[in-house]
Symmetry: C2
């Protein structure tokens, strides 16, 4: 393994005080980048995920073009249900479609906990190639969805504002739901261990729909399984949990032993720190829509955010994925403003 | 005006201790009711809003059929932009469409602060007729959208997960945005005063998209205008603010002098009480998706919720609108469970 030259992210996640705060952006390898759009025109979504050379190229684009302190593998959380035997389609402009979702006990027989090397080996190959091409410039973040978020798609079959069918599945057939959540968990742990073995330096768990659950349900349906994942990984690699909207459970997420917790822009950094305690690293929390502001506004808002977080135990990021309509120079202004920030004493 | 026989809701909002907690459900006059669906097949959305006899019939259905302690006028928050001169279409299964949204200073010239009696008189007629037909059984709640939520639709032109164009409008053209927000506020205050004059007993302000804004933006873009509305109304009638997801601002919402604050299911009642203080009434917060659970689960979850809120300063409700796929007997089980609840000492 190459030594990593810019290891700010890793040092912050190990609890060290660093010379400045590291910065990256969720969905930084994506549609706001013109070079990504060129590849998007030529290759389907799953081609871009499945061809290691494409995935590596896309992963590295924002490192070269925006100057972030970490790369995050270009892939999708839905490769896991796909590997478990469920068909997943990506419809242009419409999002994911799983034409045969899980509704009954019988449906559960159609899926399985796969051999991840067989089904997801292409991700591990992409990680190896990306690491080689990154050549130690910055760390590489691997990732997967939280089991609850994956269940949402497996049951609802498509995106939703409320994921009420997924929730009803958990409320009406709790045993079945927990059986499915455990299968997803087992698959994902093996998948993430494979990512680490292939060279991922950090793992982020995305619970994109964690915020749809009330605090008790979040504990029983989501965090219970995230906890298993963190336990299985945390000795090998730093782990970040990003459960969007689940501010109410920052304390219990911190208690999992995760190294970092992502927060969105709807919670003040000072309040998040109180809830999460003083040990864990916080990641966030710039409003992605604010990258549509004029650059001087972006710069002053970044200062405000950085002062609120303070100069340690913070990874600067957005509070959710970057929007496709953000101009590249606005993304760059965000990254540069973080890099140039000096805490006001 | 008739005396109201079941005035539980009004007494709780006046700060009185009542013999039991009142209960109603957001969107209780809606698609989960088969009798509503019959009218929906025969009349368009705006016919249902604009014909007083239809609006009254739909408004009263849940009082008769589910046993709620309050009626809420059947209408839509988008009648306000419509009255301000913007075309609003309701597309079946797709939601609202405003084909000529506001994007520039020039667009602002197309709209105006209307004479509400001329443009929204049909709502006042519907309120008068509903009051007559309710004949004092339960109070009638009038409502309007918060200016920020109305701006979302006026600028974005349709529903959205992020309303990023509406947010970008506020960030890129703040003067224009505040001018628009003030026009909406002026219209809405006149509109709500008209509703009260026509007989509405309580007013609820819906800030459905308040939770998309960070705490500072919520104050500057949303609460600033809600505050004007509350000030203009609170001496005449009890006012409830429901800003979904804006838990971070419960304290400042309470400080507006509103009588009640709605909360969603993602905040524990005890925590909401700490944030909001001990004076204001809290309304909520059953997860609407939980009405898809088996009835015994609904009953035990209602007990849990009721115990968490305690026996005073609470209006039982859902944390958002009832879902169309909820069986009527599940909605009834929710209402009955609240009515039968005895606090566990």
């Amino acid at each position: 393994m190459n030594e990593i030259k810019n290891d700010l992210l890793l040092r912050v996640l190990r609890g060290e005080q660093t010379e400045r705060t590291p910065v990256w952006m969720m969905r930084q390898a994506g549609r706001y980048l013109p070079d990504y759009m060129k590849l998007k025109e030529k290759y389907s979504f799953f081609e871009r995920c499945q061809k290691p050379e494409l995935s590596a190229e896309i992963t590295i684009q924002p490192v070269d073009q925006v100057g972030v302190d970490a790369a995050i593998l270009f892939s999708d959380i839905l490769v896991v249900p796909q590997a478990m035997g469920l068909e997943v389609q990506m419809l242009e402009g419409k999002g994911p479609l799983l034409p045969e979702p899980i509704k009954t006990a019988k449906d559960l027989n159609r899926i399985y906990v796969p051999d991840v090397n067989e089904k997801l080996g292409y991700v591990f190959d992409a990680i190896k190639l990306t690491k080689q091409e990154l050549n130690g410039r910055v760390p590489l973040i691997g990732f997967a969805g939280a089991p609850w978020t994956i269940l949402c798609y497996m049951v609802q079959g498509k995106g939703s504002k409320t994921f009420d069918e997924a929730k009803a599945f958990c409320y009406m057939q709790p045993e079945l739901a927990h059986q499915l959540l455990q299968m997803i968990t087992d698959t994902t742990i093996a998948y993430l261990k494979g990512q680490v073995k292939a060279g991922a330096d950090v793992i982020q768990i995305f619970d994109s729909w964690g915020g749809l659950l009330g605090p008790d349900d979040f504990e029983n349906i989501s965090l219970k399984y995230i906890r298993q994942m963190v336990s299985a990984l945390k000795e090998d690699v730093p782990v970040i949990i990003f459960a969007k909207g689940a501010w109410h459970s920052l304390q219990s997420m911190a208690a999992t032993g995760a190294h970092g917790l992502g927060i969105d822009w709807c919670i003040q950094p000072e309040i998040a720190r109180q809830f999460a305690g003083y040990k864990v690293v916080l990641q966030g929390n710039f409003d992605p829509a604010k990258l549509l502001s004029p650059i001087p506004v972006i710069e002053s808002e970044v200062k405000k955010m950085m002062n609120a977080f303070g100069s340690s135990k913070h990874i600067a990021n957005l509070g959710h994925g970057i929007l496709p309509n953000v101009p590249v120079d606005h993304a760059r202004a965000f990254v540069n403003a973080v890099k140039e920030f000096q805490i006001q004493k």
